[in-house]
Amino acid sequence: MKYLDEYRDEKIARSLVSKIARRATRPWVLMEVCGGQTHTLMRYGIDDLMPAGIELVHGPGCPVCVTSLETIDKAIAIASRPGTTLVSYGDMLRVPGSHSDLFRVKAGGGDVRIVYSPLEALKVARAHHDRQVVFFGIGFETTAPANAMAIWQAKQEGLDNFSMLASHVLVPPAMGLLLGSPGNRVQGFIGPGHVCTVMGYREYERLSAEFDIPIVIGGFEPVDLLEAIAMLVAQLEEGRAEVENQYCRSVSYEGNLPAQATMQRVFEVCDQKWRGIGLIPQSGLRIREEFAAHDAGCLFELDTISADEPAECISALILQGLKKPTDCAAFACRCTPENPLGAPMVSAEGACAAYYHYRRHAAAAGSPSHE
């Protein structure tokens, strides 16, 4: 398939691996920001191809994993109400809240539906005027424009039975937090290609300059990631700390301006809580007052529930790249995708789930699977 096969080509990949190996004279710790990138690294075993010394750690960029427990509980509370339909992206359904998940709410008779786009949720609202239709709008700058567009359209149409439980997170503040933390080990970032497709990479220049760290905006195919790693290693070896764009077939400096305008029209920046990390100032988006009629957070009375975290789950350390999933004692035994202790085991993009699905043979090393 065009635009795919050439980015999954073994020859090109091998030559990039040799290039990285030739270039690296010292150990370097690199972090990919996006869950989609983690997924590709694991699926293609790219960490196995790295020369000794190049360590890949996995960032907080899985939108499912970092959505706060309270937000999940709110979605569950909404979905449990009679006369209400909760519409969501698929992988949110399995994320455990404090006491339940959306699959269980659905099994108990709640009206929970999976869609691929928030605009499909509008269709549901138009077709069911007698029901309150709530879209569970989560994600990074990637999903925010389409979610904003859904709210904007609902307002234009006067679709008063449509609202959104919005919980958006922004990448640069989280990267800033990681870089500023005393335990930080990350020396170079593979930047979030899809986020930058929307936002451009101006903001990343500020981060790179402030923390004196190279950032290469990377794509999501194996060759993209290897090329981004090669570019990072080159910068580190040469003592440069710049923003470079590997994913130039999708990312431009300014990004998608109409998408940004739509986001700014509907959302405003707010403090946001990240599951596994905590509160990060100015790291989220909330629905502007003007669109309050479509803000499920305002429309529904939602109790805030706080939950005890299992002491065993080290997701906080995983999401900051301080530990690997396989460093966790619960990994693949007490914590599995069927019974996740923490969010990174839930979504296919979560680091723990990616290790579980693709990398267990290394851990098992000939011994039978320990399930």
Partner: protein, 353 residues
Amino acid sequence: MSDYAKTVEGFACPAPLPARETILLGHGSGGKLSADLVREIFLPAFDNPALARLDDQAILDVNGSRLAFTTDSFVVKPLFFPGGDIGSLAVHGTVNDLAMGGARPLFLSAAFIIEEGLPLETLRRVVESLQRAAKQAGVSVVTGDTKVVEKGSGDGLFINTSGIGLVRPGIELSANRAKPGDKVLLSGAIGEHGIAILAQREGIQFDTTIESDSAPLDSLVAAMLDTGAAFRCFRDPTRGGLSSAMNEIAVQSNVGIELDERAIPVREEVHGACEMLGLDPLYVANEGKLVAIMQPEDAERALEAMRKHPLGSEARIIGTVAHAHPGMVTLRTLLGTTRVVDMLAGDQLPRIC
């Protein structure tokens, strides 16, 4: 959202959920949750040697004849889809489960659970299609049942078919017979049925329509068995896709299976749809494909026979059975690295980005 600012929860992580108490849709996905139900509820209750083989069909000795017996229920939505409908699928599913046991399918039952309000014309179309498919597969529908449930208690139409077939003398096939060194053969491209249904259900349009591969595999199996090659096991990778079928064999035979990503055919349209929807074709359902595990020395002969058959023209060797990592399936990726092909817990979920 100002409440976020007030409650500083620190490094949060959720408590594990209590043990499974209710049936979730994932229990019907053909993945781990389905396997749990079989192991924890059905096997202990019905405990007997024929069931314990856990193959797609029971093989029963009756007065010196070996009968294959199987049952399957069909709840597909929509009832009509490109490449088939619930009627033809109800025949193919059961016929194929018999064929995978090395049996010639002979007789079917058909039970219809109909929701009040279903147009009679719809039922007629389904029944006619079911009969056409039965005729093509050389089986007769010899008994049946009809139930009507109240509006809202069903989803239009559910069909159950059971089937009986006669196992070829001398043929012993089971998922517990795979041995290190064996070859894994696949009859054609994967993922077509699942994507055809999903595209129809979600209203996703492609340049060309993706059709279900739903087809009766009994004649392909017969052609393969006619070669006299030594087969260990046949499986049709339906729910849960190629991954579930391979994992079941790896577990039941206590062997490792090593697949080669390059060798597994996936049609361009299916590949594109999977990329777009964030799905892995290894987990997408098929209704007209089979995998065979067999002794390596006979593999070429079997491939030749498969390729002469219209349903096996794209047959390939896709992997090998190994000593290493018993119970686990691995895949040599396009980059030459190795990864695990896990069995999914429940249904494959579309990813967010």
